[in-house]
């Protein structure tokens, strides 16, 4: 309620029960002030090993953009168009780069024991992101609409049946696999990436193991 035109009641503006205020408070508290997009980092971040996280993210952007273009052309477009073929190659190689950078990032963080300092959830979200990314890429191989995808689907079918997943996750159904690849799994990848980045910004990048010794 407002008292006059354009004048907000101060009591109402700070009402803790107001869901808008609660949501705003939660969003504002996600990362410490100034840490959402910091322009300075601790001195130990000046190492190439700290670059691989953002390289993974950059490659993922190329994956998503090239995937959008492929989606507009349709699943068979890359078979009949040179531009489609080029876009498909960009999509494939950006995925290769994403995984390459992600694994080097994983090695660096593992040997740095990056779960230290209340960063457990950051580590776990990264592990989950790695897992769901593998699923997303595998369904991509099943969405090639060629003999390769057919062969991979045939090989995967027995394995998935043996664990009881074949009834609802049918790798021999290209339409279902395409939907998993372009909608369901990317939603998970996007949500986990956002969560991972927010957690990194919230707790800061992990210092090297000997950072305290250096004072």
């Amino acid at each position: 309620m407002t008292t006059r035109a354009g004048e907000v009641n101060p009591d109402e503006a700070t009402d803790p029960k107001n869901w808008t205020n609660k949501l705003r408070g939660r969003l504002e508290g996600l990362v410490p002030p100034g840490q959402a997009l910091p322009d300075r980092q601790p001195v130990y971040v000046a190492s190439w090993i700290y670059v691989f996280g953002v390289l993974t993210l950059t490659s993922l952007v190329v994956v998503i953009v090239s995937g959008f273009v492929l989606s507009m052309g349709g699943s068979a477009w890359w078979h009949v168009s040179s531009l489609g073929h080029f876009t498909n190659s960009v999509h494939l190689w950006s995925v290769e780069m994403t995984f390459g950078f992600m694994v080097v990032h994983l090695w660096g963080k593992f040997w740095m024991a990056a779960w230290r300092g209340k960063r457990t959830l950051t580590w776990i979200s990264g592990v989950m992101l790695f897992g769901i990314s593998i699923g997303t890429s595998f369904t991509g191989f099943l969405s090639q609409s060629n003999f390769d995808s057919q062969w991979i689907g045939g090989q995967a079918k027995d394995g998935l049946n043996s664990i009881g997943a074949g009834a609802f996750f049918n790798v021999l159904n290209p339409g279902q696999m395409l939907m998993w690849h372009v909608v369901l799994l990317p939603l998970g990848v996007g949500a986990l990436t956002l969560m991972h980045i927010i957690l990194v910004r919230r707790h800061g990048v992990v210092p090297p193991l000997d950072a305290k010794l250096e004072g």
């Binding site: 300075r40 601790p42 001195v43 190439w48 670059v51 290769e96 390459g100 707790h203």
Partner: protein
């Protein structure tokens, strides 16, 4: 298109060692990644002099 078919139809080369069988392509990629990891640890990161003087290991 015919050139593409030749490439796609070429048999892959594999390395066999004990129970491990891996394609030369995949092995090369893994070796490059390990090399990249080692280089990331040992190659100095270019920093400006201002940044080196500033910052005493600012921690959050």
């Amino acid at each position: 298109m015919s050139g593409l078919s030749v490439v796609a139809g070429a048999p892959g080369r594999y390395v066999n060692w004990w129970v491990i069988q891996i394609s030369v392509t995949n092995l090369t990629i893994i070796v490059v990644m390990v090399l990249l990891f080692i280089l990331a640890l040992v190659v100095p990161f270019p920093t400006g002099h201002d940044e080196q003087r500033d910052e005493e290991g600012r921690s959050r």
